[in-house]
Amino acid sequence: MKNMKKIMAFALAAVMAVSCLTGCGKSESKKSAYFIGATGPLTGDAMSYGVSVNRGAQIAVDEINEAGGLNGVEFTYEMKDDKATAADASTGYDSLYDDGMQVSIGSVTSASCEAFASKAAEDNLFFITPSASAASVIENRSNAFRVCFGDPDQGTLAAEELSENFEKIGCIYDTSDTYSTGIWEAFDEEMKNLGTEYTVCTFDADNKRDFSSQVDTLKDCDVIFLPIYYTEAGLIAKACAAKGVGAEIFGCDGLDGVAEQIDSTVTNRIRYITPFDVNSTDEKVAAFVSKYEDAYGEKPDQFAADGYDAVYAIYLAMDAAGVNDVKISASDLCDKIVEAITDDSFSYAGLTGDMTWDASGACTKVPVIVELSN
């Protein structure tokens, strides 16, 4: 039995070598269309964000291809699963690069987008991330752009808003999440400049379900600032209702989708900064919402909208730059897009507001504070 294993060892090592080779042989076949790549968490805890961005982007790509693509040339789009970890984001990038990726909408979560960005910088590949809001992702990288707000802008805006109209302010943020810590740091800094006091509580990835103790500590605040995602925000809202805490709940774009999480028991007033209001009357948004609902049977959230806008931003920038050669290399395409997108005349009225970009890659758009009607 034992020498059988040795012979098997030989055979398997050879098989491995061969399969590695075939692995890289198939990159040339997809050259007949522009290839947009992306990575995002399609499994694991952050799966719902990855799936939303992926679906939003897919709808945009289908729309563009139906309308004839970029003067006759279609787009192909693919998102690799990166389980929101840096390691899988870089393997995903390599595999997309081998498949001939020319332009990309980056990664969904900040940490994997950091890994994606450092690889993209080497190849000077243009990417515009729909949702990685950490400031460091686009810092001094000419090829890195973003559709959503940066963490710092939301933090400062929230600080101004709250310190004007509230005395006793509380805050709960997630120490294990880059989006949450990013916003809180800017918020904390701005609150210090404005000299307003506030009490802060935290939680982390391993116990983000039971918030009874945090709510107890902040039970006599007028407002609780929640720079976190809608799942935990929903739980906190219900914990407040259960404990009879009437404070207002104020959040950022991560709170979009909290409506489904809460029930009739929650009577607190809920407001949050968001670029995308799912039931806004704008006909472009309404069309997207209905198309999304037909395709996937649930209302789109802000991540889907960002994914949609990212694809359209690429399409419009390539159109403005007059790109027509399908075989264009990633870095030439990047230079063309960057030049077009940072041009003052370029702006895109997307689902998440009217957007313009500057050389730093950050997106300037008018934030809107939405109140939840319940």
Binding site: M47, V51, D206, S212, S213, D216, K243, E260, D263
Partner: protein
Amino acid sequence: MNIVSGLINGLSLGAIYALIALGYTMVYGIARMLNFAHGDIIMVGAYAIYFAVGISDNPVVSILGSIVFAILICTLMGVITEGLAYRPLRGASPLAVLITAIGVSYFLQGIAQMAFGAKALPITLPNLGTIRLFGTSISVGTIITLILGLILMLALTLFVKYTRTGRAMLAVSEDNGAAQLMGVNVNRIIMLTFAIGSALAAFASLFYLFSIPSVDPKLGSMPGIKAFAAAVIGGIGSIPGAVIGGLLLGLIENVCKTVPGLSQYTLAIEFGILILMLLIRPIGILGKKRRVKV
């Protein structure tokens, strides 16, 4: 944050961990295996409750209905996993059983993720309101968790000690072969153990949803590991040990969460205490040392 509400919250969280830990201890003591997938039975129970809670709007009926449905589903799931995954491996090396249990746990999570999506589904349990007790408001759900939890544990202890099947379970745990010689149908007993363990897990999932009203595929993994730690602290295999270990862990977790500075390191502290406990008394609080005959 007065002491009483901290204590009650801690104990009710502890009751949840204790109920899950009981499942681990019974299966370990009697079937001599570590059922890593036990944590995911809670997730199955949670989804069962999610679908059953809407059957009627009067709160008592809907809760009773959902718990009965959850017990049914969990017991069924427990028996199926035992039958398909663990029975063929009886007598195989314990490590093989451990890996299979891990496989079952991944499988249950994967299926739930495919069927119900990974997004956390909100669940609206009928709100039982809060009552004022010792000067602070405690939600009725927490009180029920505590009381019903303790009753269940007492019932289980009595069952194992005073009923015939209970004693048969003890016999199987003492010496599998000898019990078989005495005419005890070991397969039936082990299946029964899984059934009881899973039924308790169904209760645990209901109480869990009282304090944390949201359901997702990963719901069961962290409480499962913590409950296993509680079972080991209490002395793996000993039923009262699991209860004490669970309550202790619930209290520790609640204390860590309330102190703002500590909440970041709750998990590190809990596992730290577990390691210290095991170094000082390796067989756990109530475990009985078995002298190996040289």
